[in-house]
């Protein structure tokens, strides 16, 4: 596609969902209502670890207004010895997460649910449920969970032959690290820790479910994938997928945290038992206690380089906290950690550790920030030890086309070096620093994903266009799809409507995650539009009585070409649509594909901080993010993704963390004490989009949503070191921690 002459691709068009969102008309899951609707509430475990001996629901059931009560008995059981994977989840763990089965595994774990005519009655009924618990010893932190005498969460988990809380291990090897380190002139090895952080989406999980007497089930819910909702709900309730229609509501943020379900199967069973539509809406406290944050981590990274700055060996060990059930993002940590660099000898290992806290869910580039934090901080020390500029060190070792990565691939054309070069050349990198200020840099990688997508492109009778795809739009994908459709058809952007279909109206589409949506849906939309253009040329050919090959499509109209050029006046989309019935029927096409070729995303960040050494406060005062977007179909939303990722990274680095009390309960389950940055905490985050087109995509798109959260943790840590001359090896760098470290240094 000729980038220079693009009319719509690359434009900052108005977001189709924008007016509804700013005026409050957008319909989120919690806005849905139905006649006869009742309310569901969940009873949650008051203990972080307890065997459930029995549950007596009789008093709750007898309460006037209560219409149904559900426990684990009503959810399909998946025995622990047979894996049933679905995407990144496993139904063995999902069925135990949505409703505690043998044991309550964390404080806040659902143990029963009630549906009643009002929320108050449902809450009251929950209080009347009697659960007989055998309280068990519990463990939360990784270092405690992997001790030999730790309380064991699951008898069926064994590691190296013994009962263990280590649920899994993942290893990447390239070359021979021992030999590599032997060649190194400088070797730096450090250990790091990060705390669990939550995605912090503004909209709590919510759904409305209706199971009709004939078993037909409709789900309105907030998720990152209506097909994921349908598949998981089907497995957990035993209702066939063909009887479930999952309708995606407008989504108020997900950041990975809505690639999993909590409420839907419970609401389905409550609706099935009561015969009434059931609505469930989590409170913020429930979101903080019982939905997926990402892992805490403990890592050790060792990197060796020759005196000239060439990295010869790298080794990393990453322990990630999975929460109560297996499945932490060790692939992201161990796989992405060294992926930006061309290193001949790599050994990277991840361990999945269960403990008595809520099960983790995906969070923007799951695991990758944890790996990059350790690696990019060690690289900073390595640059210092070598007397090299930290960006020059990275540039010297940057992965390029043909580099073999430890996690498997040989890279095609990538734009990583370009991001570093842009950072080196940017005025920010040379700008003078003020008093108590420091500057840090870091890079990052994220896999990106392709996968299944479906699209349908229809020409309306009046000659406009409706595009339907199957992906909830979180980052502006509808606007980007409209840009592409308008470009390909040569019509005004405002003549294209982009909708998100439900599971009954569009073909299977994998969820909105892995930075895949625009990559994949642009592919199927492009192919669909190409089919539509073929149809339009055929219709014009028929009208003119010439061969379809003698018709070209240009600027929204069919033109006779070649020998026929000029023989007939052009036929516009509107004219062809008006004649559709006579020339062969409705005009439209759909394409369904398992897309491949989503190449990795790379980023380089520069961060300036200012420290108040008396109060221990670190503030980010300037930030510039450089990223290879492949092709920015809608630059505004690419920038939005970059800024959003940085903002979340700043929170992770400086202020966000789960705090537990002595009873193993989350002690800060609110936005007051779980400190996400507010607007005034952040500087304007500057962005530089680099476009090295992905050779495997029709428009050159690479995923952009996740990699921007990968570098900030280290960029900020390195900047704090530059400001204070003290290195921090654990996050968050909260004021008490910073002050204690500085006082320790002074003493």
């Amino acid at each position: 596609m000729n980038v220079v002459s693009n009319k719509w691709i690359g434009q900052r068009t108005i977001r189709p969902d924008g007016a509804d969102k700013v005026t409050g008309r957008a319909a989120y899951a919690a806005d849905a209502t139905m006649p006869g609707m009742i309310w569901g509430k969940i009873l949650r475990s008051p203990h972080p670890h307890a065997r459930i001996r029995s549950i007596d629901t009789s008093k709750a059931e007898a309460l006037p207004g209560v219409k149904a009560v559900v426990t684990a008995k009503d959810i399909v059981d998946f025995p622990v010895d047979t894996p049933v994977p679905l995407g990144i989840q496993d139904m063995r763990w999902m069925c135990r997460n949505v409703m505690a089965r043998e044991k309550a595994l964390f404080h806040g774990h659902p143990v029963a649910a009630v549906a009643a005519t009002t929320e108050e009655i449902a809450a009251e009924a929950c209080r009347l449920i009697e659960v007989d618990y055998e309280v068990l010893p519990w463990v939360i932190e990784i270092e405690d969970a992997i001790r030999p005498d730790a309380p064991i969460l699951h008898d069926f988990l064994r590691f190296e032959g013994r009962p263990s809380n280590i649920a899994g291990k993942l290893e990447h090897r390239l070359g021979d690290v021992e030999a590599g380190f032997a060649e190194a002139d400088v070797v730096i090895e450090r250990s790091f820790a990060t705390r669990p952080v939550h995605q912090g989406y503004i909209e709590p999980h919510a759904c409305l479910v209706s199971v009709a007497p004939d078993g037909k089930t409709t789900i309105w819910s907030s998720s990152q994938g209506q097909f994921m909702v349908r598949a998981m709900t089907s497995l957990l309730t035993g209702i066939p997928q063909s009887d479930i229609r999952a309708i995606p509501a407008e989504i108020g943020g997900g950041f990975g945290g809505k690639t999993i379900i909590y409420l839907e199967p419970v609401a389905v069973m409550l609706s099935k038992k009561s015969g009434r539509p059931v609505k469930m809406v989590m409170t913020r406290e429930e979101v903080m206690r019982a939905t997926g944050p990402t892992s805490a981590s403990r890592s050790t990274v060792k990197i060796g380089a020759r005196r000239d700055g060439r990295i010869v060996a790298a080794q990393g060990t990453f322990y990630l906290q999975a929460g109560a059930l297996p499945g932490s993002p060790i692939r992201g940590a161990a796989g992405c950690a060294f992926a930006p660099y061309d290193i001949p000898n790599v050994h990277s290992v991840g361990y999945d550790v269960v403990s008595n806290r809520s099960k983790v869910a995906a969070y923007r580039a799951p695991g990758a920030p944890i790996g990059a934090y350790a690696v990019e901080c060690v690289l900073d020390e390595l640059a210092e030890a070598l007397g090299m500029d930290p960006l020059e060190l990275r540039l010297k070792n940057a992965a390029r086309q043909g580099t073999k990565a430890a996690h498997g691939p040989v890279y095609p054309r990538i734009g990583f070096a370009e991001t570093i070069e842009a950072a080196l050349a940017h005025p920010h990198y040379k700008a003078p620093l003020g008093k108590r200020q420091g500057r840090g840099v870091a890079c990052g990688f994220w896999f990106n994903a392709g996968g299944e997508s479906s699209a349908q492109v229809n020409v309306t009778e009046d000659g406009n266009v409706v595009v339907t795809t199957g992906h909830p739009d979180i980052g502006g994908s509808r606007a980007s799809i409209a840009n592409i459709t308008a470009e390909l058809l040569g019509i005004d952007y405002r003549r294209v409507s982009v909708l998100i279909g439900d599971t009954a109206t569009i073909g299977y589409s994998n969820l909105t995650g892995g930075s895949r949506v625009l990559f994949a849906s642009a592919t199927v939309v492009t192919q669909s539009v190409e089919k539509v253009i073929t149809q339009l040329r055929e219709r014009a050919a028929k009208i003119w009585g010439i061969d379809p090959d003698a018709v070209k499509w240009e600027d929204g109209q069919a033109l006779p070409a070649g020998d026929n050029a000029g023989r007939f006046p052009p036929l516009t989309l509107k004219q062809l649509a008006a004649k559709a019935s006579e020339t062969g029927g409705p005009i439209g096409a759909g394409v369904q594909l398992n897309t491949t070729g989503a190449e990795g995303g790379f980023a380089t960040h520069i961060c300036d901080v200012e420290v108040d050494p008396e109060l221990g406060i670190v503030r980010v005062v300037r930030y510039t993010a450089f990223q290879d977007a492949g092709r920015a179909i809608h630059p505004g939303y690419v920038e939005g993704q970059m800024q959003g990722g940085v903002a979340q990274g700043i929170g992770w680095a400086l202020s966000e963390e789960y705090v537990y009390d002595r009873q193993g309960r989350v002690d800060n389950a609110s936005f007051l004490d779980y400190r996400m940055p507010v607007c005034s905490d952040l500087p304007m985050i500057d962005t530089v989009i680099i476009e090295v087109p992905n050779p495997k995509h029709p428009q050159g798109v690479r995923g952009v949503g996740e990699v921007p959260i990968v570098p900030p943790l280290a960029a900020i840590s390195n900047a704090v070191y530059n400001a204070l001359g003290r290195r921090f090896y654990s996050l968050p760098m909260s004021p008490p921690k910073v002050l204690a470290t500085l006082e320790g240094a002074a003493a």
Partner: protein
């Protein structure tokens, strides 16, 4: 869920009568920015709510002929900010009241609610204590007057007798050369709760401190009036030694806890730092006054 009765009396006598009659089942509602949050979370379940915002005396701001101020207990932060004179005379008290929450919260939140909610971290309370403010309280047994620092009795508890309502705050007349300031440490830049708060109120003549009051919030179960810190400042010209002595007095006065918001060591250190910074601002304002 039981029904809640909502009353909005026009007079203080009616309010006191209804409050006493409800015998513990009632809650006073000013801006509701604490009360409604607590009701939503289930922490309090009142049977009767008595809205005091319709009572003229509780929403009035008056400057007395001698230059003092009477602030109704239910006056909102936004209304106080709009008063043409108050912020010029008591910039520290005003900034403390205006630190509460956000623009939206400011339209509702009152200093009376801030005091009676009895959070050790309440922002306006240390500033009012440093200002030497008193409160007028009315209950079934009539009116009484007491210093602001006598109201909080512990986290969530006040020394108010059953049926007593805070009517207004009285701030004393200002001698020439006076200035006040309030600073708080919060991890974020706004929408947060004080980890330490410090109020300083100074009167200077010819560069020397002739009167001082120092208070601390969030470092003990209740607001602290730190008399030793004031003593260290009085008679000084705010030299580093005097400031350090006052900071040391603040640190010594702290009786904080370790919690999710801060450690004992951190809060204690920061109390001294904020004292020095607040004293510098108060002195600068006193010089201009």
């Amino acid at each position: 869920m039981a029904d809640i009765q909502y009353l909005a009396p026009r007079t203080l006598d009616e309010a006191v009568g209804a409050y006493a009659a409800a015998a513990g089942a009632a809650r006073i509602l000013a801006g509701g920015t604490d009360l409604l949050v607590q009701m939503r979370s289930g922490a309090v379940r009142p049977g009767v709510i008595i809205d005091i915002k319709k009572i003229a005396e509780l929403t009035r701001i008056e400057e007395t002929p001698d230059g003092g101020f009477r602030i109704g207990a239910a006056v909102t932060g936004a209304a106080l900010a709009e008063h043409p004179r108050f912020g010029k005379v008591w910039p520290g008290v005003l900034e403390a009241v205006n630190l509460i929450g956000s623009k939206q919260v400011q339209g509702r939140a009152s200093p009376g609610g801030n005091l009676c909610n009895a959070s050790p971290a309440a922002d306006s309370v240390p500033a009012l204590v440093a200002a030497g403010a008193t409160v007028t309280v009315q209950g079934p047994n009539g009116r009484r007057e007491m210093p602001v620092e006598a109201v909080p009795a512990g986290p969530g508890r006040t020394s108010l007798a059953p049926g007593e309502i805070v009517v207004r705050f009285t701030l004393p007349p200002r001698p020439a050369g006076s200035g006040d300031a309030y600073l708080r440490m919060i991890p974020r830049t706004e929408m947060d709760i004080a980890v330490v708060g410090c109020g300083v109120n100074l009167t200077l003549r010819d560069g020397a401190v002739t009167a001082a009051r120092v208070s601390l919030g969030a470092v003990a179960p209740t607001v602290l009036l730190v008399e030793d810190a004031a003593k260290a400042l009085i008679g000084s010209r705010l030299e580093e030694a005097a400031l350090e002595a006052a900071a040391a007095a603040c640190r010594a006065a702290c009786r904080p806890i370790n919690d999710k918001r801060g450690t004992i060591a951190y809060r204690t250190r920061v109390a001294g730092v904020l004292l020095k910074r607040a004293a510098a601002i108060a002195a600068e304002r006193a010089g201009r006054a």
